[in-house]
């Protein structure tokens, strides 16, 4: 890692630690949860070239399982988080192994349809509380610290986010990540080089689902509830938008995209009502038509052009 990159990471970490002193911590935690969700999604779309249109189902599953584990079974907080993450990864294995049987557009439709099936299951299942959702989930304690305190919880969420972000970085730059990129660029050639593409795709899917689940589990802890919205296809669309807007296949893109979308929704929700959906749709259209590399991708391209001109 070059020195400049190291400095950038340290500045980012500093901002992360200081942010709750200036901004409402719950909002920052929400941004972090969705940023993690988008980063997990980007691992699949940006680095493996698989568009999953049902990723909210992993967020929702983990949210419900963690909520149930903490509220009904009264398990310790970390065990609850782990339970949610494992449940999402297991569901990811089931959905992934079905979906990777088709490519491209069909893959997107299959993941969307299977996610909708699970959504209907949540709608009817008794443990989710149906339309009301799972309310009043206790946050519990960690190493004797009371997590009901927002600042204590913030540093736990920040730690989870940093660790996951690091894990995703390591994955992208590992030999495994290189093979994923090879699949994205040319699946047929990767097969002819002797790689079991289906296995790599499935592994990437499970990893992405698990991390999306961790984001959902953490979100339950922050808001103390889990609802059907978490598993709805609208949320699946949102994570696609965050990744697209920030820049798919870039390290920081999903983080930027999630920050913008969550802030935007937060600001607009009580001002324009249901027109929020129209604005989200319009951002989608503009991104696809005008800047497909996203904010981070386009900025990098611009930066590279400027460097190139100087030389």
């Amino acid at each position: 890692m070059s020195r400049r990159v190291t400095i950038a990471y340290l500045v980012g970490l500093g901002l992360l630690l200081l942010a709750p002193l200036f901004i409402y911590p719950i909002l920052v935690m929400k941004v972090l949860c969705f940023a993690l969700f988008a980063c997990a999604f980007n691992l699949l779309l940006g680095y493996t070239g698989l568009l999953s249109f049902g990723h909210a189902v992993f967020l929702g599953t983990a949210a419900y399982v963690t909520g149930h584990a903490l509220k009904v079974w009264q398990l310790p907080t970390l065990v609850g988080l782990l339970a949610g993450t494992v449940a999402a990864a297991a569901l990811g294995w089931v959905i992934g192994s079905l979906a990777i049987r088709r490519q491209g557009i069909y893959f997107a439709m299959v993941t969307l349809a299977l996610a909708q099936m699970v959504f209907f299951f949540f709608l009817q299942a008794p443990f989710t509380g149906g339309e009301d959702g799972l309310q009043g989930v206790p946050r519990g304690t960690l190493f004797g610290l009371d997590l009901a305190n927002d600042m204590n919880l913030y540093y736990l969420v920040a730690a989870i986010f940093s660790a996951s972000f690091w894990l995703i970085q390591r994955t992208i730059h590992s030999p495994f990540g290189q093979i994923l990129k090879a699949i994205r660029e040319n699946e047929a050639r990767t097969i002819s080089l002797g790689y079991d593409v289906a296995k790599y795709k499935l592994l990437a899917f499970v990893l992405s689902a698990g991390l999306a689940g961790l984001a959902g589990a953490t979100k339950t802890l922050v808001f103390k509830f889990a609802t059907l919205t978490d598993a709805h296809w609208h949320t699946s669309g949102e994570v696609v938008l965050m990744t697209l807007l920030g820049g798919m296949g870039t390290v920081f893109g999903p983080l930027v995209g999630a920050t913008i979308i969550v802030t935007l929704q937060n600001e607009l929700a009580d001002k324009v009502g249901s027109l929020v959906t129209v604005i989200m749709g319009a951002i989608f259209v503009i991104c696809v038509l005008a800047f497909r590399r996203g904010i981070v991708g386009e900025s990098l391209a611009l930066y590279k052009r400027m460097i190139g001109q100087k030389l």
Partner: protein, 295 residues
């Protein structure tokens, strides 16, 4: 009263008919998706929203202008088709050289915009739309009562599907269309205006969605959310049937509608998910779809 597995036979016939009605909508919508996909290589996510727009237009025509069902059955699909042509000219045409996924993403954004606009104007509650008087009431078939409007929906949908099939497979225009689907460059070289064909195909495909929307208006409540849940089921129908053949779409759509209706009778809890379960099974044993070809 006669019963089958403890279910009154009247309820069975009723659900069978309702299943046929839903199946007709699946058939028309998946046919439109298949026609668009064949020509543009784009999965039209806005299909559900445009179906909803068709129904809303029918309702608006009645509410504001006093235009009746029959005129709207003609006018609403034309309006929706024109909206589609505008979408194709202004946006979709710039995406043909890119990865197919961008078409899906763009039309998803459009679906959100259309749905959001109608929701902002009319709220989420459904609006009632009365059955045209010609089709009020029911036929007495002896063994069951058949509501006239339901019979009309099935007949009208199947006729439209059949006409589409005839146009694509048997007419000169259809031959151009098939040629352009197979090899656009070569077809263009023979002096056929391929971009024009593409534009008309998209307009026609979404016009079908608008037509289905008007048909659906008296059969259910007209509301901004009626398209979004339906389109996900139709995606599953398309995955099950494959998009290779027109008759395949029709058969799959109708069949799944009937299965869904039967599930409502025998296992009500699963009726919302049965199509997705069938999709999972088909993916396990015949990944390319029942009528699809492995590419």
């Amino acid at each position: 009263m006669t019963e089958i597995f403890g279910v009154p036979i009247q309820a069975l016939y009723g659900q069978l008919m309702l299943g046929l009605v839903n199946g007709s909508f699946y058939a028309v919508l998946s046919l439109g998706l298949a026609v668009i996909f064949g020509m543009l290589n784009i999965i039209n996510f806005a299909h559900g929203a445009l179906y909803m727009a068709g129904a809303m237009l029918a309702w608006m025509g009645m509410e504001y202008l006093g235009i009746g069902y029959w005129w709207m059955l003609l006018l609403a699909p034309i309006c929706v088709g024109l909206i589609g042509i505008a979408i194709e000219r202004l946006m979709l045409q710039w995406l043909y050289k890119l990865d197919h996924l961008y078409g899906l993403l763009l039309t998803f954004g459009l679906a959100l915009m259309i749905e959001g606009l109608f929701r902002d104007l009319y709220g989420v509650a459904g609006q009632p739309y009365s059955i045209p008087e010609e089709f009020a009431g029911a036929f007495n078939l002896g063994f069951m009562f058949l509501p006239k409007y339901r019979a009309w929906v099935v007949v009208a949908s199947l006729s439209v599907c059949l006409m589409t099939w005839y146009m694509i497979e048997k007419t000169r225009l259809g031959a151009y269309l098939r040629a352009a689907t197979e090899n656009p460059q070569l077809t263009q070289a023979f002096g056929i205006n391929v971009p024009l064909m593409v534009m008309l195909t998209y307009g026609f495909g979404v016009g079908l969605a608008g037509f289905a929307g008007v048909l659906a208006a008296p059969a259910s409540q007209v509301g901004p959310l009626m398209g979004s849940n339906l389109i996900i089921v139709v995606f599953a129908v398309v995955v099950i049937g494959g998009m290779g053949s027109i008759l395949g779409s029709v058969v799959t759509g109708l069949g799944l509608g009937i299965i869904e209706g039967m599930t409502k009778v025998f296992w009500p809890e699963a009726s919302a998910t049965v199509v997705f379960m069938i999709m999972a099974v088909v993916l396990m044993f015949r990944p390319a779809g029942l009528f699809g070809r492995e590419k």
